[in-house]
Symmetry: C2
Subunit: 596 residues, 2 copies
């Protein structure tokens, strides 16, 4: 589209600036994308929302039939290539679908397990025969898919699975034996992506397994806190014969597949979180406008307005980051294909490139949603605790998101680990800017430096400074702790917090800047407030996380110097965050819905 667009590499945001014109913002979805969005919304209204109780009761056949209907509408095929019966839409369009459908509780989980971890391994790693055989059926929903990685003793440490695959004497089939756990869509899936180790391999291999291959049994449905309508099973493979041609990609390439598919799963989880939380925010605003106590609608009370504004702020912020990253993936894909790479490989490479961003969006999305459902319950008061009102389900369903697709602990660790590895490999030059910050620390601040000018000059300066803070701390931690840093998880968590907050805050700032360019300041005053609120909160978080980190590995003069640097980098002009929240709340309350 835009030829002059400057795209950063994955993770590069921490050392470089991005221009507003170069990010995609959700306000730029085109007619066709908005029509797809509308289709999803209508589908939820017609088929899902009226049936939430039946779905959660796991009514026999209901979920598969909903998937069939979604399939008929094309919702399972949005980004499947046309040659396999799909619509060949780009990544951000599939993100938009995931976002809207995200409001669909258990149905959203079933759909995204099917289209994501269920379908994509074949689409991206399958050979032509495999794709020809499976993708059209998966795209239409005729067949449903599940993904079998986790085992009772192998969760976060996914490569440690004990499931075995042994070639039969005839050399025609692998016999798979082992126990898989927590398998979403397990109860009705026709196709399973199963990870197992061939003989005594160190690494997993992936297989496409059909339900009817034999040797597959299951435990009854798991009883869960939430997403009760999502089928979750333990599955036992007992010499299940899988034709050799159903091995996916190469032997021992399974862990790589798992990891790469999870990258996509993570950013999509963030997208789904936006959709669920938008629904919760709408519901909360409606209730706050309806419910009266002390002779006033409770939306008149500052305590409630604070919550509404804060909910909207976090949603808007995570949304900004999510679609920015989504577009980065699309752009990277286009570049790779233009340079001659095969489409499936380019899809994988483009998400791998933005794996840091994917992990950030997973963590920030799921934590945003947990915050929002929690406040949703609270705004409802006693009714928030009633299983007959909407917040109870939202609260319970939300909680899984910090656990699956890699726990938030694992994802936080990965954020830092991946960045540092890229630095070490020379893919990302972290050293030069980190050293620049270090020498800036030694120098006397230049009080006469010309003030930056232009839109949001102050805010951009803050983002720059926060990045410096992050680089200072990460750089010092690497230097000081060297090989033991990997074991200092508390410090890694602090650094992950800084990186994630900065990414989300910067994305929000860029979005609002672009919005102003498009619509003018007046039309987006609420978004400007939201951006400033989130930025202020980010500054405070960075200061706290930074202080905690520094205090835990530095000492004496060095510590003092860095603490002083941190204060300098997190210094901001006083900001009346209360008034900003009041203004945002006012817009929400007047619109009686999330309006950004």
């Amino acid at each position: 589209m835009q030829n002059e667009k400057q795209s950063l590499k994955g993770g590069e945001f921490i050392i470089k600036e991005t221009e507003a014109k170069d990010v995609f913002i959700p306000e730029e979805f085109d007619e066709e994308q908005l029509m797809i969005k509308k289709t999803c919304e209508d589908f939820l209204e017609a088929e899902v929302f009226p049936n939430l109780d039946r779905i959660d009761k796991l009514e026999e056949g209901l979920m598969p039939s909903l998937m069939d209907k979604a399939g008929e509408l094309g919702l399972l095929a949005v980004s499947i290539p046309e040659e396999y019966g799909g619509f060949g839409k780009n990544f951000n369009t599939s993100m938009l679908v995931t976002d809207v459908i995200g409001a669909g509780h258990s149905f959203a989980v079933a759909l995204s397990a099917h289209t994501g971890i269920g379908t994509l391994p074949i689409l991206y790693y399958g050979n032509t025969a495999q794709k020809d055989k499976y993708i059209p059926k998966l795209a239409s929903g005729e067949w449903k898919a599940a993904y079998c990685l986790t085992e009772p003793n192998s969760g976060s440490d996914a490569n440690s699975g004990k499931t075995k695959a042994v070639l039969n004497a005839e050399g025609t089939h692998y016999l798979i034996s082992g126990q898989k756990m927590w398998i979403t869509n397990g109860g009705f899936a026709d196709v399973f992506i199963v990870f197992a180790k061939i003989d005594d391999d160190k690494n997993l291999t992936a297989f496409i397994v059909e339900k009817d291959f034999g040797g597959i049994t299951m435990n009854p449905e798991e009883h869960k806190m939430g997403i009760k309508g999502s089928s979750t099973r333990q599955i036992f493979f007992n010499d299940c014969p899988v034709p050799v041609e159903n091995m996916l990609s190469e032997r021992e390439n399974g862990f790589k597949i798992a990891v790469n598919i999870l990258n996509i799963g993570r950013i999509k989880l963030g997208a789904a979180a936006i959709g669920s939380s938008r629904k919760v925010i709408n519901t909360a605003i409606n209730y706050a406008n309806e419910r009266a106590q002390f002779g006033l609608q409770i939306s008149k009370f500052g305590a409630i307005r604070y919550k509404l504004a804060e909910m909207a702020t976090r949603n808007f912020a995570v949304e900004s980051a999510t679609y920015r990253a989504g577009q980065n993936v699309d752009d990277a894909y286009e570049r790779l294909v233009a340079s001659g790479m095969d489409s499936a490989k380019a899809k994988l490479k483009s998400t791998e490139e933005f794996a840091v961003e994917c992990a950030i969006i997973k963590v920030w999305g799921s934590e945003m949603l947990d915050y929002i459902v929690d406040e949703g319950v609270q705004i409802y008061g006693g009714m928030g605790f009633s299983a007959e009102a909407p917040m109870d389900r939202a609260y319970r369903d939300s909680r899984i998101n910090r656990i699956f697709e890699g726990t938030n602990e694992i994802n936080r660790l990965l954020i830092v680990d991946m960045l540092l590895k890229r630095g070490m490999k020379g893919e990302l030059d972290l050293m030069t800017p980190a050293q620049a910050v270090a020498s800036e620390l030694m120098s006397i601040p230049d009080f006469n430096a010309a003030e930056d000018e232009g839109t949001f000059a102050a805010e951009k300066k803050i983002i720059k400074n926060l990045k410096k803070a992050g680089l200072m701390i990460a750089g010092a931690a690497v230097q000081k702790l060297m090989m033991t840093l990997a074991k200092e998880q508390e410090i890694l968590m602090n650094i992950a917090d800084i990186i994630g907050y900065v990414y989300v805050a910067e994305s929000t700032l860029l979005r609002v800047e672009k919005l102003i360019a498009q619509k003018g300041e007046n039309a987006v005053s609420g978004q400007i407030d939201i951006m400033r609120i989130y930025l202020q909160e980010t500054v405070d978080k960075v200061h706290l996380a930074g202080k905690e980190a520094l205090n835990s590995f530095a000492e004496g003069d060095e510590l003092n110097m860095m603490l002083m640097g941190l204060r300098r980098f997190t210094k901001t002009a006083p900001f009346n965050i209360k008034d900003a929240r009041q203004r945002v709340a006012k817009q929400l309350i007047e619109a009686n819905k999330y309006c950004y």
Copy 2:
């Protein structure tokens, strides 16, 4: 006990120091109290824990029969006077029972609704005939009690209820009509404390209503997110005839009764939260020591150790505040009775006196518990989401605590409101110290001031400074906003946060200081770490809340001066909080249980 004990008045902690020797700490419970504690623990182990699923299924007759058994053991009569068949134990003993039983999920709710809001209105406001008739039966558990205040349109605004009481023509009975909602123990209670308005009264009147008076019907059990085993009903009163002698206290005194009984309910909710969270912490430690990933017990990972340490820290801190306040209530009672006050009245006056502390403990207890169950779920990973593992129930059951006994929003508002009212009435001299802080702000800090000496001199100085910060901000807010402050809820929330954190942190410090005096530093190194962790967190919270408040009502030079003051008052020496948490986690993991 201690004659020379200096007890502060309720709320006075914010302007005065307390000496460690003057607080009660839970390590001081005597033999008899520990025996009662043991009885409660044994009861839970024998009767409640094995039956949690049956209880949550609301199995017919099960909960009342458990209450009967608890009654036989005397658990419903701990602080009922001996003349009514009770044991006449002091307040803190009843707190200890509430604490331990707090781990009992729905049963804990049923028991505490019965012994608290169900029984106490009669015990404290009943006349002799009423007490003679009802208390022995309630103390033994022969009769069970419920409390009917909330209505569909009257929750937080409890005095706005529409339930009516009309004297019949004969003058013998009040006919009560109206709808009550969310009535705990409703399904099996024999006695209801019902709040209604006589004719067109502005204020509520309380009545003792027996199940068999007639005109009472109920909806089926509410379906709830958690505490599913606790009976919760809507109750309809339809010309229910209540003998005039069953009016409790005086006409229009009902709201006062409701409020005073809630004071007790609030501090006890905090106590129950300690007990539940202690159980969750134990369960989490056990699991973290058992579950291995990446070839290591997950308790070896810093991310998990952080959580365990933080869970223990918050529990210890809230526990310190809870029993400190409990003893204050006991001491106040003793003084009032010694001065000739009637026992029931003294009970009420003594909790009313500490209403600010009760509200703090309600809020901090419930939020501590929600944090702990949330991390409990996370430590369990996927199993945290399983309804067959313990964290799911803990997570769902916990969530009610921020809603009932006054929502946490209402309680936060009350904390500040009650303090300011006492200030205005001259009961609490907030002005003098607030002015002293204001003039300290103007003066140049005395860098030559002799350093304080003695145990925890630095920590005590911090607490003093944090109080100054609170007084500075509250004082300025009152002056600046005058009559509109009541409407500035965001600022009131900030101030409530400061007050509450300071109270809990000070209580923790005093407890640890007393512990050292008793056992020596070495024996309580973990507690010292915990205290320093909590204090550091408090400093950070006060700084943030203070900054947010100041930025929202002050400007220009005045703002700058106060921000500088805030920085001065929250300045602390660098503290390696990570190492402290690691040491606490180590002790927990080695003990394989909560060990403080």
